[in-house]
């Protein structure tokens, strides 16, 4: 006993601890660990006071300094059961702070809680309720439901309101409690005590958020509170409840729209006004006058001094945007102004809104202005802008983009922005556009060339993915390139060694494609007369390289490859030869190599120089890629080997022959080389198309393939083998067309027979000079530092741009009557379905089934008994009258409404992805309308054009609607309003 007194006397109180903490000189963590040790000792004491003080200190340390206190849970239970309130309080607080579902001692506290819940001391009850609201588990909730039930109707308001709040947790853990408690909970809605009403409305607000349908029958009670209550907190909660209920029951909206507008007009509390605005914009958006009023209020918010209100105003606008774009338009000046706000949150909101206003008529201008903004803003917001442009433009298979040449160039510009880290997204889009939009390929290759050719870009890791796409595009669509040799140079430039292997492999593969294309041209050269092609090639060589680059690059290549010497037999000769060529040819184009007299450019000379450039090309490939056959990466190694073998094969045939024999070879169509080249060319001409996400499902299962077989063994074997880093183009090309649906594959077939290789015929009069193509003005840049691609224009000021944006957005209003485009929108290949990952229509999760089921039971049960609303007889009778009037209409109306409300949700995802391969601009416009106009009200013209699709949609509808009705009607009882 004396020991405990001593302990008691010398124990540090919490206050001592805090003071000590403030004065400590030994470092906070040491101090805390010392204090914890002390507590561990003290907490074992038999003296209640010592024990509770120790626990008090521990929970302080745990709350503020995150000290673990789970070890003390048994002591917590002991202190909780103390008879002294001061101790009990400490125990309960510690419990609510540290207990959770897995705490082992939870089973021990049931009885203690039961005892305290039934206590006559309000404070003890309050402690127990508070703890229950934090830690109730299924067991606790089930065992203590009777006690909570009793407290729900106690006269002690202090306890009652807490019991009401606890119910939320109890229902959540133990849905069966609803059958017991729900009626009493509802009765509390009619209580005259404001404290009780506050609590109960809060509970219903949370309950209704999870499963609004079940609470429709309570609408009359909520309505009364909405009209009568003077408490803004309560009103806000009730508005939240109605925001959930109104979309389910149209007549409800009609009822509440007036009181809501009333509050909006009269209330001086910004929070309440804002809640009204939000309710109107989300749930009552069909009521024109209410929306107008709400938008007016939003405007007030937007121009307010307070950034909070401005932010909320923008948020409210973005809620309104989908249905009431005019609201955004009216406030566009404020929106645009917010783009240069101090606060990044506000900037982002305004950016979102701005993108919501974009239409195809001025997407180009807005994007231009935004891009200028991006150049000047901090990296984070810059990428925010880029991301939203990318997302908006690519939405629904580039719905908004009309001029793809523009868009592709825009993507190129984005890549050049120094802060851009959206490489992956840009990569995806570049490749995707290549596959989908045939008309854009020329521009794609052009943009790709600009990106590839700039050696500075190779040093920026964020751009590697974009370069990867550019390289792929250059290889895949080389037939529309203005100058394949130039592309080849870009792909082979020495700084490609900076790329990661997976992208390097793409570079090499693209080089192979280009080589095949060049050889093919070469072998077909005498099939026709001089073609545009050769002229092109000849013209393109004006800006060639310097000797410096050549030698430098050779050195680089030398350092890179270890077995360079192996191939030394041919290299020195070629290198010197090419540099000789260079020196001679760089200035005097017309002088033919190897001492030939300069003659007017005839066919034979063209052929000759074509021969030269091909030979040069082959040599260069060998020189650059030779070292790669000892590369560490398998992909790079293998692809380099492939292309090198081909080069050697071709060289054997043509390299040592004189000009005459070249012509001979070319004339002999059936030589080995030409056959191989033809084969390879054919392999590469198969077009790649976009792949549907559901493509795999359409492949018929071959006979004898057992897919169900357990492959676990394989998993064990291959488990640690890493998949090769995903390159977009890994999948084999030829298979892809089989996965497309009929319409788009037709389209592709047509394209294939198109004017692909006809462009080739005569030789180009062009000579390669130097190994690496670097435009002369850029040749100085060799360092790893890449210069900023676009310097922000310093002279243009933000205000001008803001004004410009305002002007631009004005045009969106004219979006409906679009002026005739100067350029028709090119065909965009769309797949039947699965262009985008299937959007699952979100339905209320069945998770709460037991809870909502219980609530339904409780409500329907109480409905039959009039006692539910017994406290206000006048109310009841008036409601009863109304009920008689309405009840006959209710069912049928309800059915219709349910179907109506349900359909847009179900249809939209379908209609957006159900488009067919050939969606011309015209049809697209119709689809746009269709989304707005509901199923039945189409004019004849549209019906004709989209008849078949329509039929499908209707059957869809028919198939779905009865289901809905069946599932919905029993849910909504005919209630009084």
């Amino acid at each position: 006993m004396s020991g405990s007194i001593m302990e008691n006397l010398f124990q540090r109180t919490l206050e001592d601890l805090i003071k000590g903490m403030r004065l400590q000189l030994i470092g906070e963590s040491t101090f805390i660990s010392k204090a914890t040790e002390e507590i561990r000792r003290e907490i074992k004491s038999t003296d209640q006071h010592t024990k509770s003080t120790a626990l008090h200190k521990l929970s302080y340390l745990s709350a503020v300094h995150a000290v673990d206190m789970s070890w003390a849970c048994f002591h917590v239970v002991e202190v909780m059961s103390s008879s002294k309130f001061a101790h009990k309080r400490i125990g309960y607080h510690a419990a609510s702070q540290s207990f959770h579902d897995d705490t082992p001692v939870l089973l021990l506290i049931t009885n203690q809680l039961r005892k305290d819940l039934s206590s006559t001391n309000d404070f003890e009850v309050s402690l127990a309720l508070d703890l229950l609201s934090r830690i109730a588990t299924l067991d606790l909730a089930r065992d203590l439901t009777p006690e909570v039930f009793k407290l729900l109707s106690t006269a002690r308001v202090f306890v009652r309101k807490k019991a009401i709040a606890v119910v939320l947790r109890v229902f959540d853990k133990y849905p069966d409690a609803v059958r017991v408690c729900f009626k009493r909970l509802v009765e509390n809605l009619e209580s005259s005590d404001p404290q009780v009403v506050t609590a109960v409305v809060g509970v219903f607000c949370e309950l209704a958020a999870k499963d609004p349908k079940s609470y429709l029958p309570l609408a009359p009670e909520f309505y009364r509170i909405l009209v009568d209550s003077k408490n803004n907190w309560v009103l806000i909660k009730v508005l939240k409840v109605f925001a959930k209920l109104a979309p389910l029951e149209p007549r409800l909206g009609k009822r509440i729209v007036e009181p809501v507008c009333d509050h909006m007009r009269r209330s001086g509390a910004k929070s309440l006004v804002f809640e009204c605005v939000r309710t109107v914009l989300t749930s009552l958006s069909g009521y024109e006058s209410a929306v107008k009023l709400a938008v007016e209020k939003v405007r007030e918010l937007l121009v307010d001094q307070d950034p909070n209100l401005r932010y909320l105003g923008l948020q409210a606008l973005s809620v309104a945007a989908p249905e009431h774009l005019w609201a955004v338009m009216e406030n566009k000046e404020a929106v645009v102004k917010s783009l240069s706000d101090d606060d990044s949150n506000i900037k982002i909101e305004s950016l979102r809104l701005l993108m919501a206003m974009v239409s195809e008529s001025h997407v180009a201008d807005i994007s231009r202005v935004l891009l200028n903004y991006a150049l000047k803003s901090d990296p984070e917001f810059c990428n925010e802008i880029l991301g939203s442009i990318l997302m908006t433009c690519s939405r629904n298979v580039y719905e908004i983009v009309v001029d793809f040449d523009w868009y592709v160039s825009l993507l190129g510009e984005m890549a050049m922005i120094p802060n851009c880290i959206k490489g992956e997204e840009i990569e995806t889009q570049l490749v995707d556009i290549g596959m989908r939009v045939k008309d854009a390929r020329m521009q794609l290759v052009r943009v790709g060339r600009d990106l590839l050719i700039d050696p500075a870009l190779l040093g920026n890791v964020h751009l590697h993915r974009i370069l990867c796409a550019a390289a792929w595009v250059a290889g895949e669509y080389v037939e529309v390139a203005s100058n394949p040799f130039e592309l080849m140079d870009a792909l082979l430039q020495p700084r490609t060694s900076l790329l990661p292997p997976s992208i390097r492999a793409v570079y090499i593969n693209s080089a192979l494609k280009i080589l095949i294309f060049c050889l093919d041209c070469y072998f077909h050269q005498n099939e026709g007369s001089a073609s545009w092609y050769s002229d092109h090639l000849a013209g393109g060589q004006s800006d060639l390289f310097s000797v410096k680059n050549d030698t430098e690059a050779a050195e680089l290549a030398m350092c890179e490859g270890s077995n360079y010497e192996h191939h030394g037999d041919f290299n020195p000769r070629n290198a010197t030869e090419s540099s000789e060529d260079l020196s001679v040819e760089n200035d005097v184009d017309r002088v033919a190599p190897h001492g030939q007299t300069s003659t007017p450019p005839t066919l034979s000379v063209n052929k000759n120089s074509m021969h030269e450039s091909i030979v040069n090309l082959l040599n260069r490939i060998e020189l650059i890629l030779g070292p790669l056959i000892s590369n560490q990466d398998v992909e790079v190694l293998e692809r380099a080997r492939n292309i090198l073998s081909l080069v050697q094969l071709v060289k054997e045939e043509i390299i040592d022959n004189s000009v005459q024999s070249v012509v001979d070879i070319v004339n002999k169509k059936d030589t080995r080389v030409t056959a191989i080249i033809n084969l390879l060319r054919d392999a590469f001409t198969t077009e790649l198309g976009p792949v549907s996400t559901s493509a795999q499902g359409r492949i018929v299962l071959p006979d004898g393939l057992v897919l169900e077989e357990n492959l676990d063994d394989l998993q064990a074997i291959c488990g640690d083998i890493e998949l090769p880093s995903s390159s977009l183009f890994g999948a084999g090309g030829p298979h892809l067309t089989t996965t497309l649906d009929a319409s788009s594959s037709n389209l592709l077939k047509n394209e294939e027979s198109g004017p692909l290789k006809e462009s080739t015929s005569l030789i180009e009069h062009r000579k390669r000079h130097g190994l690496y193509y670097l435009p002369s003005e850029k040749s100085e840049i060799v360092s790893d530092e890449y210069p900023p691609a676009n310097d922000p224009k310093s002279n243009s000021n933000i205000n001008d741009e803001a004004a410009e944006l305002v002007k631009l957005t004005e045009q969106s209003l004219l979006l409906k009557k679009r002026t005739n485009q100067t350029k028709p929108r090119p065909v965009v290949v769309r797949l039947d379905d699965g262009d985008v990952a299937p959007i699952t229509v979100k339905r209320p999760e069945p998770l709460d089934d037991s809870l909502s089921g219980a609530i339904k039971d409780a409500l329907l049960g109480s409905e039959t008994r009039p006692s539910m609303s017994g406290s206000s007889p006048s109310d009841k009778s008036s409601r009863k009258k109304e009920k008689k009037k309405l009840s006959t209409r209710v069912r049928s109306e309800m059915k219709k409404n349910v179907v109506d409300a349900e359909n847009p949700e179900l249809e939209n995802p379908n209609s957006s992805s159900k488009n067919h391969g050939h969606s011309h601009t015209k049809e697209r416009r119709h689809q746009g309308k269709e989304k707005i106009v509901e199923g039945e009200e189409h004019d004849q013209r549209e019906k004709k054009k989209s008849g078949h699709r329509h039929g499908r949609r209707k059957t869809h509808q028919r198939a779905k609607s009865p289901l809905n009705v069946v599932s919905q009607t029993p849910v909504i009882p005919d209630f009084l309003l």
């Binding site: 995150a66 309000d122 309720l129 939320l168 506000i346």
Partner: protein, 143 residues
């Protein structure tokens, strides 16, 4: 659940009070507090008091050296929460008389009690200052 947590943090980023209405482990709490404090304390007076973080919306307000941060669900009314913070500060002010950081440090459990009176299970149940303070004064008297 409307309110998920209430934090009081001083200018240096030290937590002075933390009240969670859903269970998080100590590590989770520590990480969450660190992220939020870093995010909010970096903002200036001209910026708005709402920050989105993970799946929370953080509503915060600064009083002298103390930041009050409340994490709420997405559909909670931000302005109402600002008013709630103000109410909390006023209540503490009335009780302590010109409340400061030290009051909260040395009377943490009282601050907790006030919060418990105001918020239960994440729902605001009491908004009257005198209703909040009466039981606390009573408890003071008895103990």
């Amino acid at each position: 659940m409307g309110i998920r947590f209430v934090l009081m943090v001083n200018k240096q980023g030290q937590t002075r009070l933390a009240q969670y209405y859903e269970y998080l482990t100590l590590e989770e709490r520590r990480a969450l507090e660190g992220e939020i404090v870093r995010k909010c304390l970096a903002r200036n007076e001209q910026q708005c008091s709402f920050v989105e973080h993970r799946n929370y919306k953080i509503v915060y307000r600064r009083y002298a050296s103390l930041f009050f941060l409340v994490g709420v669900d997405d559909d909670e009314n931000e302005l109402a929460i600002l008013e709630f913070i103000h109410l909390l500060v006023e209540t503490m002010d009335r009780h302590f008389g010109n409340v400061c950081e030290l009051d909260i440090m040395f009377h943490l459990e009282k601050a907790h009690f006030m919060l418990e009176e105001m918020v239960m299970n994440g729902c605001i149940v009491e908004t009257s200052k005198s209703n909040i303070l009466t039981p606390i004064q009573l408890m003071d008297k008895t103990s």
